[in-house]
Symmetry: C2
Subunit: 324 residues, 2 copies
Protein backbone atom coordinates (compact mmCIF):
# COMPACT_ATOMS: atom_id res chain seq x y z
CA UNK A 1 0.00 0.00 0.00
CA UNK A 2 1.22 3.51 -0.80
CA UNK A 3 2.17 5.43 2.35
CA UNK A 4 -0.27 8.23 3.20
CA UNK A 5 2.24 9.87 5.53
CA UNK A 6 5.89 10.73 4.93
CA UNK A 7 7.29 10.34 8.44
CA UNK A 8 6.01 9.40 11.87
CA UNK A 9 8.26 10.37 14.80
CA UNK A 10 8.37 8.65 18.16
CA UNK A 11 9.96 10.45 21.10
CA UNK A 12 9.90 12.17 24.46
CA UNK A 13 7.30 14.94 24.41
CA UNK A 14 9.01 17.85 26.15
CA UNK A 15 8.57 21.56 26.76
CA UNK A 16 11.88 23.42 26.87
CA UNK A 17 12.65 26.06 29.49
CA UNK A 18 15.48 28.11 28.04
CA UNK A 19 17.76 30.61 29.77
CA UNK A 20 20.98 32.18 28.62
CA UNK A 21 23.78 31.83 31.16
CA UNK A 22 27.51 32.34 31.30
CA UNK A 23 29.95 29.48 31.63
CA UNK A 24 30.31 30.09 35.36
CA UNK A 25 26.73 28.92 35.80
CA UNK A 26 27.57 25.60 34.12
CA UNK A 27 30.52 25.12 36.43
CA UNK A 28 28.78 26.29 39.60
CA UNK A 29 25.93 23.82 39.12
CA UNK A 30 28.11 20.94 37.90
CA UNK A 31 26.24 20.71 34.61
CA UNK A 32 27.41 18.47 31.82
CA UNK A 33 28.00 21.10 29.13
CA UNK A 34 26.66 20.25 25.69
CA UNK A 35 25.04 17.01 26.84
CA UNK A 36 21.55 15.86 27.80
CA UNK A 37 21.39 14.81 31.44
CA UNK A 38 18.34 13.17 33.00
CA UNK A 39 17.26 14.78 36.26
CA UNK A 40 14.60 13.91 38.81
CA UNK A 41 11.83 16.18 40.07
CA UNK A 42 13.85 17.47 43.05
CA UNK A 43 16.83 18.37 40.92
CA UNK A 44 14.51 19.99 38.38
CA UNK A 45 13.09 22.19 41.14
CA UNK A 46 16.44 23.24 42.55
CA UNK A 47 18.08 23.79 39.18
CA UNK A 48 15.11 25.81 37.92
CA UNK A 49 15.24 27.95 41.05
CA UNK A 50 18.88 28.75 40.27
CA UNK A 51 18.29 29.57 36.59
CA UNK A 52 17.91 33.13 35.34
CA UNK A 53 14.56 34.18 33.84
CA UNK A 54 13.73 32.15 30.76
CA UNK A 55 11.25 31.44 28.06
CA UNK A 56 9.24 28.29 27.39
CA UNK A 57 9.03 26.67 23.99
CA UNK A 58 7.88 23.26 22.81
CA UNK A 59 10.74 20.87 22.19
CA UNK A 60 11.47 17.16 22.24
CA UNK A 61 13.94 15.88 19.69
CA UNK A 62 11.66 13.85 17.40
CA UNK A 63 8.85 16.38 17.85
CA UNK A 64 11.19 19.14 16.65
CA UNK A 65 12.07 16.97 13.65
CA UNK A 66 8.39 16.43 12.82
CA UNK A 67 7.65 20.17 13.16
CA UNK A 68 10.53 20.86 10.77
CA UNK A 69 9.19 18.30 8.30
CA UNK A 70 5.74 19.91 8.35
CA UNK A 71 7.35 23.31 7.87
CA UNK A 72 9.12 21.94 4.79
CA UNK A 73 5.85 20.64 3.41
CA UNK A 74 6.13 16.94 4.30
CA UNK A 75 3.29 15.02 5.93
CA UNK A 76 4.39 14.13 9.44
CA UNK A 77 2.82 12.76 12.62
CA UNK A 78 4.08 12.23 16.14
CA UNK A 79 3.75 9.70 18.93
CA UNK A 80 4.70 10.85 22.44
CA UNK A 81 3.08 11.32 25.81
CA UNK A 82 1.99 14.45 27.72
CA UNK A 83 -0.20 15.03 30.78
CA UNK A 84 -3.42 17.03 30.70
CA UNK A 85 -1.62 19.99 32.28
CA UNK A 86 -0.68 23.46 31.05
CA UNK A 87 2.67 22.45 29.56
CA UNK A 88 0.97 19.49 27.89
CA UNK A 89 -1.55 21.88 26.38
CA UNK A 90 1.31 24.04 25.06
CA UNK A 91 3.07 21.01 23.58
CA UNK A 92 -0.06 19.71 21.86
CA UNK A 93 -0.96 23.16 20.53
CA UNK A 94 2.44 23.89 19.09
CA UNK A 95 2.74 20.55 17.34
CA UNK A 96 -0.74 20.62 15.82
CA UNK A 97 -0.43 24.29 14.91
CA UNK A 98 2.79 23.37 13.09
CA UNK A 99 0.78 20.94 10.98
CA UNK A 100 1.97 17.72 12.61
CA UNK A 101 -0.60 14.99 13.27
CA UNK A 102 -0.72 14.28 17.00
CA UNK A 103 -3.57 12.26 18.47
CA UNK A 104 -2.12 10.56 21.55
CA UNK A 105 -4.44 11.15 24.52
CA UNK A 106 -3.02 13.41 27.23
CA UNK A 107 -2.66 11.37 30.43
CA UNK A 108 -5.23 12.15 33.12
CA UNK A 109 -2.92 11.08 35.96
CA UNK A 110 0.72 10.30 36.64
CA UNK A 111 3.73 12.61 36.47
CA UNK A 112 3.48 16.00 34.76
CA UNK A 113 4.47 16.81 31.20
CA UNK A 114 8.23 16.56 30.67
CA UNK A 115 10.38 19.66 30.74
CA UNK A 116 13.96 20.24 29.72
CA UNK A 117 15.90 22.95 31.52
CA UNK A 118 18.25 24.33 28.87
CA UNK A 119 21.17 26.64 29.48
CA UNK A 120 22.50 28.43 26.42
CA UNK A 121 26.06 29.72 26.86
CA UNK A 122 27.72 32.57 24.92
CA UNK A 123 29.32 30.03 22.54
CA UNK A 124 25.72 29.08 21.50
CA UNK A 125 26.18 25.61 22.99
CA UNK A 126 23.16 24.21 24.80
CA UNK A 127 23.25 22.14 27.98
CA UNK A 128 20.10 20.13 28.58
CA UNK A 129 18.70 18.78 31.83
CA UNK A 130 15.58 16.74 31.30
CA UNK A 131 12.90 15.84 33.80
CA UNK A 132 11.11 13.14 31.79
CA UNK A 133 7.83 13.19 33.70
CA UNK A 134 5.10 11.31 31.90
CA UNK A 135 6.94 11.26 28.56
CA UNK A 136 8.98 8.27 29.72
CA UNK A 137 5.80 6.25 30.15
CA UNK A 138 5.07 6.08 26.45
CA UNK A 139 3.95 2.47 26.17
CA UNK A 140 3.22 0.00 23.38
CA UNK A 141 -0.46 0.90 23.89
CA UNK A 142 0.30 4.45 22.77
CA UNK A 143 1.68 3.28 19.42
CA UNK A 144 -0.97 3.45 16.73
CA UNK A 145 0.06 0.56 14.50
CA UNK A 146 -2.00 1.69 11.53
CA UNK A 147 -0.46 5.16 11.73
CA UNK A 148 3.03 3.69 11.78
CA UNK A 149 2.23 1.37 8.89
CA UNK A 150 0.91 4.33 6.89
CA UNK A 151 4.20 6.26 7.07
CA UNK A 152 7.00 5.84 4.56
CA UNK A 153 9.54 6.37 7.36
CA UNK A 154 9.34 5.69 11.10
CA UNK A 155 11.80 7.89 12.98
CA UNK A 156 12.67 6.95 16.58
CA UNK A 157 14.54 8.89 19.22
CA UNK A 158 17.37 7.18 21.09
CA UNK A 159 16.52 9.24 24.16
CA UNK A 160 13.46 7.02 24.66
CA UNK A 161 15.71 4.05 25.39
CA UNK A 162 16.18 5.09 29.02
CA UNK A 163 12.84 3.61 30.12
CA UNK A 164 11.95 -0.04 29.56
CA UNK A 165 8.35 0.60 28.66
CA UNK A 166 9.25 3.28 26.12
CA UNK A 167 11.89 0.97 24.69
CA UNK A 168 9.19 -1.66 24.16
CA UNK A 169 7.07 0.99 22.46
CA UNK A 170 9.92 1.76 20.03
CA UNK A 171 10.65 -1.88 19.35
CA UNK A 172 6.95 -2.35 18.62
CA UNK A 173 6.82 0.63 16.26
CA UNK A 174 9.93 -0.58 14.42
CA UNK A 175 8.43 -4.04 14.00
CA UNK A 176 5.21 -2.64 12.57
CA UNK A 177 7.13 -0.42 10.16
CA UNK A 178 9.34 -3.29 9.00
CA UNK A 179 6.34 -5.57 8.54
CA UNK A 180 4.71 -2.89 6.34
CA UNK A 181 7.89 -2.64 4.27
CA UNK A 182 8.69 0.88 5.45
CA UNK A 183 12.00 2.55 6.31
CA UNK A 184 13.06 2.38 9.96
CA UNK A 185 15.20 5.24 11.26
CA UNK A 186 16.89 5.93 14.59
CA UNK A 187 18.75 8.94 15.94
CA UNK A 188 21.42 8.20 18.53
CA UNK A 189 20.43 11.43 20.34
CA UNK A 190 23.35 11.94 22.75
CA UNK A 191 26.80 10.44 23.33
CA UNK A 192 26.03 9.67 26.98
CA UNK A 193 22.86 7.97 25.84
CA UNK A 194 25.02 5.91 23.48
CA UNK A 195 27.28 4.94 26.39
CA UNK A 196 24.27 3.72 28.36
CA UNK A 197 22.89 1.55 25.57
CA UNK A 198 25.85 0.65 23.33
CA UNK A 199 25.43 -3.12 23.17
CA UNK A 200 21.70 -3.10 22.66
CA UNK A 201 22.00 -0.40 20.03
CA UNK A 202 24.70 -2.14 18.03
CA UNK A 203 22.35 -5.11 17.76
CA UNK A 204 19.33 -2.90 17.03
CA UNK A 205 21.20 -0.98 14.31
CA UNK A 206 22.39 -4.17 12.63
CA UNK A 207 19.02 -5.92 12.72
CA UNK A 208 16.28 -3.32 12.63
CA UNK A 209 17.48 0.09 11.42
CA UNK A 210 17.72 1.23 7.78
CA UNK A 211 18.76 4.84 8.37
CA UNK A 212 20.67 6.22 11.35
CA UNK A 213 21.34 9.82 12.39
CA UNK A 214 24.25 10.65 14.68
CA UNK A 215 26.66 13.45 15.32
CA UNK A 216 30.40 12.93 15.48
CA UNK A 217 30.51 12.44 19.26
CA UNK A 218 27.70 9.92 19.15
CA UNK A 219 29.01 7.77 16.32
CA UNK A 220 32.50 7.79 17.87
CA UNK A 221 31.01 6.85 21.26
CA UNK A 222 29.14 3.98 19.64
CA UNK A 223 32.35 2.40 18.42
CA UNK A 224 34.47 3.66 21.32
CA UNK A 225 36.86 5.38 18.98
CA UNK A 226 38.12 8.92 18.52
CA UNK A 227 38.56 8.37 14.80
CA UNK A 228 35.52 9.62 12.89
CA UNK A 229 36.52 7.84 9.66
CA UNK A 230 36.85 4.55 11.46
CA UNK A 231 33.44 5.03 13.07
CA UNK A 232 31.98 5.83 9.64
CA UNK A 233 33.50 2.64 8.22
CA UNK A 234 32.08 0.59 11.06
CA UNK A 235 28.54 2.01 10.86
CA UNK A 236 28.62 1.31 7.10
CA UNK A 237 28.82 -2.38 7.96
CA UNK A 238 25.70 -2.23 10.12
CA UNK A 239 23.23 0.20 8.54
CA UNK A 240 22.28 0.89 4.94
CA UNK A 241 22.43 4.70 5.21
CA UNK A 242 23.99 6.81 7.96
CA UNK A 243 23.73 10.60 8.14
CA UNK A 244 26.58 11.84 10.32
CA UNK A 245 26.71 15.50 11.35
CA UNK A 246 29.88 17.38 12.26
CA UNK A 247 28.60 20.81 13.39
CA UNK A 248 30.25 23.62 11.41
CA UNK A 249 32.06 21.03 9.26
CA UNK A 250 28.75 19.94 7.71
CA UNK A 251 27.77 16.31 7.37
CA UNK A 252 28.85 13.03 5.84
CA UNK A 253 26.40 10.55 4.41
CA UNK A 254 27.64 6.97 4.53
CA UNK A 255 26.23 4.24 2.29
CA UNK A 256 28.41 1.17 1.82
CA UNK A 257 31.67 2.45 0.39
CA UNK A 258 30.22 5.86 -0.48
CA UNK A 259 31.12 8.91 1.64
CA UNK A 260 29.15 12.00 0.60
CA UNK A 261 30.58 15.10 2.27
CA UNK A 262 28.28 18.14 2.35
CA UNK A 263 29.20 21.58 3.75
CA UNK A 264 27.09 23.25 6.43
CA UNK A 265 24.78 26.08 5.38
CA UNK A 266 26.13 29.58 5.94
CA UNK A 267 24.67 31.16 9.09
CA UNK A 268 25.05 34.83 9.99
CA UNK A 269 25.28 34.28 13.74
CA UNK A 270 24.89 31.06 15.68
CA UNK A 271 22.69 31.89 18.67
CA UNK A 272 21.52 28.57 20.13
CA UNK A 273 22.54 25.11 18.98
CA UNK A 274 19.40 23.52 20.44
CA UNK A 275 17.63 21.47 17.79
CA UNK A 276 20.45 21.54 15.22
CA UNK A 277 20.52 17.74 14.92
CA UNK A 278 16.73 17.50 15.05
CA UNK A 279 16.27 19.93 12.19
CA UNK A 280 19.07 18.37 10.17
CA UNK A 281 16.99 15.20 10.35
CA UNK A 282 13.92 17.18 9.20
CA UNK A 283 15.69 18.37 6.07
CA UNK A 284 17.26 15.00 5.33
CA UNK A 285 13.99 13.08 5.77
CA UNK A 286 12.13 15.67 3.69
CA UNK A 287 14.59 15.09 0.87
CA UNK A 288 14.27 11.33 1.20
CA UNK A 289 10.47 11.48 1.23
CA UNK A 290 10.61 13.49 -1.98
CA UNK A 291 13.04 11.25 -3.83
CA UNK A 292 16.08 13.54 -3.59
CA UNK A 293 19.56 12.00 -3.82
CA UNK A 294 21.57 11.67 -0.62
CA UNK A 295 23.73 14.74 -1.28
CA UNK A 296 20.62 16.88 -1.63
CA UNK A 297 19.12 15.27 1.49
CA UNK A 298 22.21 16.32 3.46
CA UNK A 299 22.10 19.79 1.96
CA UNK A 300 18.44 20.19 2.98
CA UNK A 301 19.42 19.02 6.46
CA UNK A 302 22.06 21.71 6.63
CA UNK A 303 19.64 24.43 5.56
CA UNK A 304 17.03 23.46 8.15
CA UNK A 305 19.70 23.20 10.88
CA UNK A 306 21.04 26.60 9.84
CA UNK A 307 17.68 28.24 10.46
CA UNK A 308 17.21 26.67 13.87
CA UNK A 309 20.62 27.66 15.27
CA UNK A 310 20.10 31.29 14.25
CA UNK A 311 17.61 31.86 17.09
CA UNK A 312 16.65 30.68 20.57
CA UNK A 313 14.47 27.55 20.55
CA UNK A 314 14.25 24.36 18.55
CA UNK A 315 11.19 24.97 16.40
CA UNK A 316 11.42 26.94 13.12
CA UNK A 317 10.66 30.68 13.23
CA UNK A 318 10.05 30.90 9.49
CA UNK A 319 8.41 28.55 7.03
CA UNK A 320 11.32 26.30 6.06
CA UNK A 321 9.76 25.62 2.67
CA UNK A 322 10.68 29.21 1.78
CA UNK A 323 14.38 28.43 2.36
CA UNK A 324 14.81 25.37 0.15
Amino acid sequence: MEPTLDVVGVGNAIVDVISTVDDDFITAHSLNKGAMTLIDADRATSLYAAMPPGIEASGGSAANTMAGLASLGSRSAYLGKVRDDQLGEVFIHDLRAAGVGFDVDAGADGPPTARCLIQVTPDAERTMNTFLGISAFLSPNDIDDSLVASAAITYCEGYLWDMDIAKEAIRGAMAVAAEAGRTVSLTLSDSFCVDRHRDEWLELLADKVDLVFANEAEICALFETEDFDSAADQIAQLVEVSALTRSAAGSVVVRGDERIVVAAAAVDAVVDATGAGDLYASGFLHGLANGADLARCAELGGIAAGEIISHIGARPHVGLASLV
Copy 2:
Protein backbone atom coordinates in the same frame (compact mmCIF):
# COMPACT_ATOMS: atom_id res chain seq x y z
CA MET B 1 11.24 56.50 57.58
CA GLU B 2 13.64 56.05 54.69
CA PRO B 3 12.21 53.74 52.04
CA THR B 4 13.94 50.35 51.88
CA LEU B 5 12.56 49.63 48.44
CA ASP B 6 12.55 51.83 45.33
CA VAL B 7 9.32 50.70 43.68
CA VAL B 8 6.53 48.24 44.37
CA GLY B 9 4.35 47.34 41.39
CA VAL B 10 0.75 46.15 41.56
CA GLY B 11 -0.75 44.43 38.55
CA ASN B 12 -2.19 41.47 36.69
CA ALA B 13 0.24 38.54 36.91
CA ILE B 14 0.25 37.10 33.40
CA VAL B 15 2.18 34.64 31.27
CA ASP B 16 2.36 35.70 27.62
CA VAL B 17 1.83 33.25 24.77
CA ILE B 18 3.40 34.89 21.74
CA SER B 19 3.03 34.00 18.06
CA THR B 20 3.99 35.91 14.97
CA VAL B 21 1.13 36.20 12.48
CA ASP B 22 0.34 38.16 9.36
CA ASP B 23 -2.31 40.86 9.25
CA ASP B 24 -4.81 38.45 7.69
CA PHE B 25 -4.89 36.55 10.98
CA ILE B 26 -5.88 39.74 12.82
CA THR B 27 -8.70 40.34 10.36
CA ALA B 28 -9.88 36.74 10.16
CA HIS B 29 -10.26 36.50 13.94
CA SER B 30 -11.71 40.01 14.40
CA LEU B 31 -8.90 41.01 16.74
CA ASN B 32 -8.51 44.55 17.95
CA LYS B 33 -5.06 45.30 16.53
CA GLY B 34 -2.65 47.03 18.89
CA ALA B 35 -5.05 46.91 21.85
CA MET B 36 -5.55 44.72 24.92
CA THR B 37 -8.87 42.89 24.79
CA LEU B 38 -10.19 40.85 27.70
CA ILE B 39 -11.35 37.37 26.70
CA ASP B 40 -13.07 34.59 28.61
CA ALA B 41 -11.89 31.00 28.94
CA ASP B 42 -13.83 29.75 25.91
CA ARG B 43 -12.51 32.47 23.65
CA ALA B 44 -8.99 31.83 24.97
CA THR B 45 -9.31 28.17 24.01
CA SER B 46 -10.63 28.84 20.52
CA LEU B 47 -8.20 31.67 19.77
CA TYR B 48 -5.24 29.64 21.03
CA ALA B 49 -6.31 26.72 18.83
CA ALA B 50 -6.22 29.05 15.83
CA MET B 51 -2.82 30.58 16.64
CA PRO B 52 0.41 29.38 15.02
CA PRO B 53 3.07 27.74 17.23
CA GLY B 54 4.33 30.16 19.85
CA ILE B 55 6.57 30.67 22.81
CA GLU B 56 5.65 31.38 26.40
CA ALA B 57 7.27 34.16 28.43
CA SER B 58 6.34 35.84 31.68
CA GLY B 59 4.59 39.14 31.21
CA GLY B 60 2.09 41.37 32.96
CA SER B 61 2.54 45.10 32.54
CA ALA B 62 3.63 46.12 36.06
CA ALA B 63 5.59 42.88 36.47
CA ASN B 64 7.53 43.71 33.31
CA THR B 65 8.21 47.16 34.73
CA MET B 66 9.49 45.70 38.01
CA ALA B 67 11.72 43.21 36.14
CA GLY B 68 13.15 46.11 34.15
CA LEU B 69 13.78 48.08 37.34
CA ALA B 70 15.65 45.15 38.90
CA SER B 71 17.66 44.76 35.70
CA LEU B 72 18.63 48.43 35.98
CA GLY B 73 19.74 47.91 39.58
CA SER B 74 16.75 49.33 41.45
CA ARG B 75 15.13 47.53 44.36
CA SER B 76 11.66 46.45 43.24
CA ALA B 77 8.89 44.19 44.47
CA TYR B 78 5.61 43.02 43.01
CA LEU B 79 2.06 42.33 44.14
CA GLY B 80 -0.10 40.17 41.88
CA LYS B 81 -1.89 36.86 41.94
CA VAL B 82 -1.11 33.49 40.33
CA ARG B 83 -2.46 29.95 40.85
CA ASP B 84 -0.31 27.06 42.03
CA ASP B 85 -0.16 25.72 38.46
CA GLN B 86 2.63 25.38 35.91
CA LEU B 87 2.22 28.85 34.42
CA GLY B 88 2.12 30.28 37.92
CA GLU B 89 5.38 28.52 38.66
CA VAL B 90 6.91 30.04 35.53
CA PHE B 91 5.70 33.52 36.46
CA ILE B 92 7.02 33.30 40.03
CA HIS B 93 10.35 31.89 38.88
CA ASP B 94 10.98 34.52 36.24
CA LEU B 95 10.16 37.41 38.53
CA ARG B 96 12.26 36.18 41.45
CA ALA B 97 15.10 35.17 39.16
CA ALA B 98 15.04 38.71 37.77
CA GLY B 99 15.65 39.96 41.31
CA VAL B 100 12.15 41.24 42.03
CA GLY B 101 10.69 40.60 45.46
CA PHE B 102 7.51 38.54 45.08
CA ASP B 103 5.92 36.86 48.08
CA VAL B 104 2.21 36.67 47.32
CA ASP B 105 0.96 33.12 47.97
CA ALA B 106 -0.06 31.22 44.84
CA GLY B 107 -3.77 30.44 45.04
CA ALA B 108 -4.62 26.82 45.81
CA ASP B 109 -7.98 27.01 44.07
CA GLY B 110 -9.95 29.19 41.71
CA PRO B 111 -9.22 30.00 38.07
CA PRO B 112 -5.80 29.26 36.55
CA THR B 113 -2.92 31.69 36.18
CA ALA B 114 -3.69 34.44 33.66
CA ARG B 115 -2.41 34.22 30.14
CA CYS B 116 -2.26 36.75 27.36
CA LEU B 117 -2.46 35.50 23.79
CA ILE B 118 -0.28 37.91 21.84
CA GLN B 119 -0.09 38.20 18.07
CA VAL B 120 2.91 40.04 16.71
CA THR B 121 2.42 41.33 13.16
CA PRO B 122 5.16 42.15 10.61
CA ASP B 123 4.97 45.84 11.59
CA ALA B 124 6.12 44.74 15.11
CA GLU B 125 2.77 45.80 16.58
CA ARG B 126 1.35 43.51 19.25
CA THR B 127 -2.28 42.60 19.70
CA MET B 128 -3.12 41.28 23.14
CA ASN B 129 -6.00 39.06 24.23
CA THR B 130 -6.01 38.48 27.95
CA PHE B 131 -7.70 35.73 29.89
CA LEU B 132 -7.38 37.19 33.39
CA GLY B 133 -7.89 33.96 35.32
CA ILE B 134 -6.97 34.31 38.97
CA SER B 135 -5.01 37.55 38.44
CA ALA B 136 -8.24 39.53 38.51
CA PHE B 137 -8.95 38.31 42.03
CA LEU B 138 -6.11 40.24 43.59
CA SER B 139 -7.81 41.49 46.73
CA PRO B 140 -7.04 43.97 49.50
CA ASN B 141 -5.88 40.95 51.54
CA ASP B 142 -3.09 40.39 49.04
CA ILE B 143 -1.69 43.88 49.57
CA ASP B 144 1.15 43.83 52.08
CA ASP B 145 0.76 47.27 53.67
CA SER B 146 4.22 47.32 55.22
CA LEU B 147 5.77 46.42 51.86
CA VAL B 148 3.89 49.26 50.17
CA ALA B 149 4.86 51.70 52.91
CA SER B 150 8.51 50.69 52.54
CA ALA B 151 8.67 51.64 48.85
CA ALA B 152 9.53 55.13 47.64
CA ILE B 153 7.10 54.69 44.75
CA THR B 154 3.96 52.58 44.40
CA TYR B 155 3.25 51.85 40.74
CA CYS B 156 -0.23 50.60 39.80
CA GLU B 157 -1.53 49.16 36.58
CA GLY B 158 -4.70 50.57 35.07
CA TYR B 159 -5.52 47.13 33.66
CA LEU B 160 -6.44 46.03 37.20
CA TRP B 161 -9.38 48.40 37.20
CA ASP B 162 -11.58 45.93 35.31
CA MET B 163 -12.43 43.91 38.43
CA ASP B 164 -14.01 45.49 41.50
CA ILE B 165 -11.98 43.53 44.02
CA ALA B 166 -8.68 44.37 42.31
CA LYS B 167 -9.75 48.00 42.14
CA GLU B 168 -10.23 47.95 45.90
CA ALA B 169 -6.76 46.43 46.25
CA ILE B 170 -5.26 49.30 44.23
CA ARG B 171 -7.16 51.95 46.13
CA GLY B 172 -5.92 50.36 49.34
CA ALA B 173 -2.31 50.30 48.17
CA MET B 174 -2.51 53.93 47.04
CA ALA B 175 -3.91 54.97 50.41
CA VAL B 176 -1.13 53.19 52.29
CA ALA B 177 1.52 54.79 50.07
CA ALA B 178 0.02 58.25 50.49
CA GLU B 179 -0.22 57.79 54.26
CA ALA B 180 3.48 56.87 54.34
CA GLY B 181 4.33 59.99 52.32
CA ARG B 182 5.39 58.02 49.24
CA THR B 183 4.88 58.71 45.53
CA VAL B 184 1.78 57.19 43.97
CA SER B 185 2.00 56.30 40.29
CA LEU B 186 -0.51 54.92 37.80
CA THR B 187 -0.19 53.77 34.22
CA LEU B 188 -3.28 54.15 32.06
CA SER B 189 -2.40 50.84 30.33
CA ASP B 190 -4.65 50.90 27.26
CA SER B 191 -6.92 53.35 25.48
CA PHE B 192 -9.91 51.00 25.63
CA CYS B 193 -9.24 50.59 29.33
CA VAL B 194 -9.32 54.39 29.58
CA ASP B 195 -12.69 54.43 27.80
CA ARG B 196 -14.10 51.95 30.30
CA HIS B 197 -12.98 53.91 33.37
CA ARG B 198 -12.67 57.54 32.27
CA ASP B 199 -14.73 59.23 34.97
CA GLU B 200 -13.33 57.26 37.87
CA TRP B 201 -9.81 57.77 36.60
CA LEU B 202 -10.11 61.51 36.16
CA GLU B 203 -11.08 61.68 39.81
CA LEU B 204 -8.39 59.21 40.88
CA LEU B 205 -5.70 61.11 38.97
CA ALA B 206 -6.70 64.43 40.47
CA ASP B 207 -6.96 63.16 44.04
CA LYS B 208 -4.55 60.28 44.48
CA VAL B 209 -1.89 60.10 41.76
CA ASP B 210 1.46 61.96 41.76
CA LEU B 211 2.94 60.46 38.59
CA VAL B 212 1.07 59.11 35.60
CA PHE B 213 2.31 57.12 32.59
CA ALA B 214 0.33 57.07 29.35
CA ASN B 215 0.91 56.78 25.66
CA GLU B 216 -0.51 59.22 23.17
CA ALA B 217 -3.65 57.18 22.46
CA GLU B 218 -4.37 56.76 26.16
CA ILE B 219 -3.92 60.36 27.21
CA CYS B 220 -6.00 61.53 24.22
CA ALA B 221 -8.71 58.98 25.09
CA LEU B 222 -8.75 60.24 28.67
CA PHE B 223 -9.67 63.74 27.57
CA GLU B 224 -11.61 62.62 24.49
CA THR B 225 -9.48 64.71 22.21
CA GLU B 226 -7.30 64.02 19.18
CA ASP B 227 -4.98 66.87 20.09
CA PHE B 228 -1.99 65.60 22.05
CA ASP B 229 -0.92 69.07 23.19
CA SER B 230 -4.36 69.76 24.55
CA ALA B 231 -4.35 66.43 26.40
CA ALA B 232 -0.93 67.30 27.83
CA ASP B 233 -2.22 70.66 29.03
CA GLN B 234 -5.21 69.02 30.67
CA ILE B 235 -3.25 66.30 32.48
CA ALA B 236 -0.89 69.01 33.77
CA GLN B 237 -3.84 70.40 35.71
CA LEU B 238 -4.52 67.08 37.43
CA VAL B 239 -1.20 65.36 38.12
CA GLU B 240 2.16 66.67 39.26
CA VAL B 241 4.24 64.75 36.72
CA SER B 242 3.06 62.97 33.57
CA ALA B 243 5.30 60.85 31.36
CA LEU B 244 3.68 60.62 27.95
CA THR B 245 5.11 58.28 25.32
CA ARG B 246 4.74 58.75 21.58
CA SER B 247 6.34 55.58 20.12
CA ALA B 248 9.09 56.45 17.63
CA ALA B 249 8.62 60.16 18.42
CA GLY B 250 9.98 59.62 21.94
CA SER B 251 8.28 61.03 24.99
CA VAL B 252 7.13 64.22 26.59
CA VAL B 253 7.34 64.83 30.32
CA VAL B 254 4.73 67.25 31.59
CA ARG B 255 5.11 69.13 34.88
CA GLY B 256 3.00 72.24 35.29
CA ASP B 257 3.98 74.50 32.41
CA GLU B 258 7.09 72.49 31.58
CA ARG B 259 7.15 70.23 28.49
CA ILE B 260 10.33 68.16 28.29
CA VAL B 261 10.60 66.48 24.89
CA VAL B 262 13.02 63.55 24.70
CA ALA B 263 13.81 61.56 21.54
CA ALA B 264 13.41 57.79 21.41
CA ALA B 265 16.53 55.63 21.62
CA ALA B 266 17.89 54.39 18.30
CA VAL B 267 16.91 50.78 17.65
CA ASP B 268 18.39 48.66 14.84
CA ALA B 269 15.20 46.76 14.11
CA VAL B 270 11.89 46.90 15.92
CA VAL B 271 10.75 43.28 16.31
CA ASP B 272 7.96 43.28 18.89
CA ALA B 273 6.43 46.32 20.57
CA THR B 274 5.20 44.25 23.53
CA GLY B 275 6.39 45.81 26.77
CA ALA B 276 7.58 49.10 25.27
CA GLY B 277 5.50 51.19 27.65
CA ASP B 278 6.26 48.91 30.60
CA LEU B 279 9.98 49.21 30.12
CA TYR B 280 9.79 52.94 29.49
CA ALA B 281 8.29 53.10 32.98
CA SER B 282 11.18 50.98 34.30
CA GLY B 283 13.74 53.40 33.01
CA PHE B 284 11.82 56.47 34.11
CA LEU B 285 11.20 55.14 37.63
CA HIS B 286 14.82 54.03 37.92
CA GLY B 287 15.90 57.57 37.16
CA LEU B 288 13.45 59.00 39.64
CA ALA B 289 14.54 56.58 42.36
CA ASN B 290 18.11 57.68 41.79
CA GLY B 291 17.45 61.39 41.82
CA ALA B 292 17.87 62.00 38.09
CA ASP B 293 16.17 65.01 36.52
CA LEU B 294 13.05 64.43 34.44
CA ALA B 295 14.85 64.67 31.09
CA ARG B 296 17.24 61.93 32.16
CA CYS B 297 14.33 59.86 33.50
CA ALA B 298 12.69 60.02 30.08
CA GLU B 299 15.96 59.20 28.37
CA LEU B 300 16.41 56.12 30.60
CA GLY B 301 12.85 55.13 29.74
CA GLY B 302 13.66 55.33 26.05
CA ILE B 303 16.77 53.19 26.44
CA ALA B 304 14.94 50.45 28.34
CA ALA B 305 12.04 50.52 25.86
CA GLY B 306 14.53 50.33 22.99
CA GLU B 307 15.98 47.09 24.31
CA ILE B 308 12.60 45.44 24.80
CA ILE B 309 11.26 46.17 21.32
CA SER B 310 14.36 44.73 19.69
CA HIS B 311 13.26 41.16 20.50
CA ILE B 312 10.21 38.98 21.09
CA GLY B 313 8.89 39.19 24.66
CA ALA B 314 8.48 41.86 27.31
CA ARG B 315 11.29 41.02 29.72
CA PRO B 316 14.87 42.24 29.14
CA HIS B 317 17.28 39.88 27.35
CA VAL B 318 20.37 41.71 28.57
CA GLY B 319 21.19 43.39 31.86
CA LEU B 320 19.76 46.86 31.34
CA ALA B 321 22.29 48.35 33.75
CA SER B 322 24.91 47.72 31.05
CA LEU B 323 23.01 49.99 28.64
CA VAL B 324 22.67 53.12 30.77
